[in-house]
């Protein structure tokens, strides 16, 4: 082989490597909510249909789309701003002026996942797991229990992070970027909630019925109420009555009584010493679908093993569901963890440490969590506790980290002297 031929040979071998990475990449796709699909036992054609409808209504991670893009934002079906979404979506890039796009993938996606399902690559290393936006439930916000967070609530979380969790503070991001990210989180959440509603709607169809792909069904019936709940969040802000002018020690005493009493009942879950060790076997609303599916699966596997009366048809159906459910649990969920009532002696408050933050947590409970509300079931109705009682409970809870038993053990001065060595 002469030298030229050798170089040609080398060039032939190396050239594919040189150009690899410069060509097209596989754009990331939104993934389906397989746990919900397996729970409802949707057949493959219905899964495909859910996926198609979502693509049509929301576009892809690289090219998000929202209905009514030509209209003004206020008039559009989603109330979402396509310009902001375009900044947050897509691959991480910046142009010659330093304008960045792909903010979600840069800052959020590795934990919260491309789909906003809380299943990003780092998710399983974190405790607590990152939030899954798809059920449309958010925990730390100023609004009534089941209401959506306001824009300000989400901005606060992005800017300050969530204390006691892996969610960092993005306080250094410019306002416009925070704004774009909040818009994108809303987009993913609306998309995820529409998906869940579609899955339920498919499951509720009769044997030979098909989902009518009409505007009335998809937009008016499914999308609009979800968008409406976001648009009216500001009307659901909990505005507590002013804190009564009571001496702090008196208020703390009253709060302690309520904490252990039948009205507050806090000790049942937060534990007799408020260490968060009272009720630790419960799951939150994001985990329940996973544990329920896992329990269905165990039952079905047991039945396949033991039930000798199964007809062939039933056996095939069961096997198919076992395959679907085990794949969903393996690929689309994290090992379930129980909901942990907060240890109130540490002074770490995920939803904010201001008295008003704690007031809202106690008044409305925490959405999606076992934590119940001592306020009314519906806004404006009568609740279990009066505002002054809730304020006392706030005072008591805020006093707990300062009690002597909450303090770490005092540093023991070294008793070792050189003589001991």
């Amino acid at each position: 082989m002469n030298r030229v031929a050798f170089f040609r040979f080398v060039l032939c071998c190396v050239s594919p490597l040189l150009f690899a990475g410069c060509g097209k990449y596989d754009p990331p796709q939104f993934s389906l909510n397989m746990v919900a699909i397996a729970k409802q036992q949707l057949p493959f054609d219905q899964q495909q249909e859910v996926s198609n409808i979502l693509d049509g209504m929301f576009g892809t991670p690289d090219k998000p789309f929202v209905l009514g893009q030509g209209k003004s934002i206020a008039d559009s079906e989603t109330g979402l701003d396509p310009k902001k979404l375009a900044v947050a979506a897509g691959p991480v890039r910046s142009d010659e002026f330093g304008r960045e796009t792909g903010l979600y993938r840069r800052h959020c996606g590795h934990c919260h996942g491309t789909t906003g399902d809380g299943l990003g690559p780092t998710a399983m290393l974190l405790n607590p797991y990152p939030r899954d936006y798809r059920p449309g439930k958010f925990k730390f916000k100023a609004t009534e229990r089941a209401a959506k967070p306001t824009r300000a609530d989400l901005e606060l979380i992005v800017r300050h992070g969530v204390q006691g969790t892996a969610m960092p503070a993005f306080g250094l991001l410019p306002d416009a970027q925070v704004d774009a990210l909040v818009e994108y989180v809303k987009y993913l959440s609306i998309r995820g909630q529409v998906e869940l509603r579609l899955i339920d709607a498919m499951a509720e169809l009769g044997q030979d019925e098909k989902l009518q792909l009409t505007r009335a069904n998809l937009v008016d019936e499914i999308l609009k109420p979800i968008v409406e709940s976001w648009n009216t969040a500001n009307e659901s802000i909990i505005k507590p009555e002013d804190k009564p002018d009571v001496e702090l020690a008196t208020s703390i005493d009253k709060g302690r009584e309520l904490f252990y009493g039948t009205k507050g009942n806090c000790a049942k879950c937060h534990g007799p010493s408020a260490l968060g060790d009272g009720q630790t076997s419960d799951y939150d609303d994001w985990t329940k679908p996973v544990t329920e599916l896992a329990s269905d699966l165990r039952g079905e596997e047991e039945r396949l093993r033991t039930d000798t009366d199964l007809s062939n048809e039933d056996r095939v159906a069961l096997k198919m569901h076992v395959a679907l459910a085990s794949q969903a649990l393996k690929a689309d969920s994290l090992p379930p963890r129980t909901a942990q009532p907060r240890n109130l002696r540490q002074g770490i408050y995920r939803g904010g440490r201001r008295p008003v933050d704690l007031y809202r947590r106690i008044y409305a409970g925490i959405n999606g969590m076992p934590m119940p509300a001592v306020g009314p079931a519906s806004p404006g109705a009568k609740g279990t506790m009066e505002p002054d009682e809730i304020w006392s409970l706030v005072d008591y809870v805020l006093s707990l980290p300062y009690e002597s038993i909450s303090q770490p053990p005092h540093h023991q001065p070294a008793t070792l002297s050189k003589a001991n060595f």
Binding site: A146, R197, D200, S281
Partner: protein, 263 residues
């Protein structure tokens, strides 16, 4: 004059009586009895893990499937799927349109286990258990907004309304007492029923002559598919269609395959 008035009122009265008599005959009643086809599974006893001093005194058992020794299935739900126009609903229901439907926390369980309400009605949450047993009622609907209020022992009942109809019964739980569970049926129309201890259900005052679609559901099995009854069988989604005749329409024994409950 007096006599004339009397006669008029007599005729009028007779007229009204005739009209209402005719109306009653124009409506149909649907009834049936859910029976398990196969051996009923054993019912698990629940050992309370909280408030044992009170809850330990009550006999608590797993209520996800309640079957008596004859195989009668309690707490199975029958709902009308067909959407009716206002004038197809019996006018008698107007008087109960804004009634209150109670869901009590009593003896460390929910009473009733399956509550049925209309979107026009108000749900009343109660706690009849003695101190120190406080409850919370965690209702997680699919369509409506969820609630989870604390119900203090000796506290006043709380009220709530659900604005929208739910396609399936929704789950109710108490986070303090994890064994407690119940279901809530929220419908726009008044045509839903739950089977009683003997497996029997009755839905009254249904429209006659129109093809109606119903669905059978039970919490452990989900849709009660392929359940055979007098003159028919539910499909793979637990549904069946029927045209009702005036008066009683009895489906007889509705045989539900025991396999559906093996979970």
């Amino acid at each position: 004059m007096m006599r004339k008035l009397c006669t008029t009122s007599l005729i009028l009265g007779a007229g009204i009586a005739w009209a209402s008599g005719a109306a009653a005959a124009d409506w149909a009643t649907l009834k049936g009895r859910f029976v398990i086809d196969g051996t009923p599974p054993k019912t698990a006893i629940i050992e309370p893990t909280k408030d044992q001093e009170v809850c330990g005194k009550h006999k608590l058992y797993d209520e996800s499937l309640v079957v008596d020794e004859k195989g009668d299935i309690a707490n199975a739900v029958v709902m009308l799927k067909t959407k009716l126009k206002d004038n197809e609903v019996a006018p008698d229901f107007a008087s109960s349109a804004t009634d209150k439907v109670e869901l009590d926390n009593k003896n460390c369980r929910f009473e009733p286990h399956v509550a049925v309400m209309r979107t026009s009605q108000t749900l009343v949450l109660k706690n009849s258990d003695p101190a120190p047993v406080s409850h919370n009622t965690n209702i997680s609907p699919l369509i409506n907004a969820g609630i989870n209020p604390v119900l203090a022992a000796g506290g006043d009942p709380l009220e709530h309304k659900f604005e929208k109809e739910e396609g399936l019964p929704i789950k109710v739980g108490c986070n303090i007492h994890p064994w407690m569970g119940a279901w809530l049926v929220v419908r726009n129309d008044p045509y839903a029923a739950v089977s009683d201890k003997t497996g029997e259900f009755t839905i009254k005052d249904l429209p006659v002559g129109k093809e109606l679609e119903f669905v059978f559901w039970q919490e452990k099995a989900g849709y009660l598919k392929n359940a055979a009854f007098k003159g028919g069988k539910s499909d793979t989604k637990g549904r069946f269609k029927i045209k009702l005749k005036p008066g009683e329409n009895d489906l007889g024994d509705i045989k539900v395959s025991g396999g559906l409950f093996k979970k």
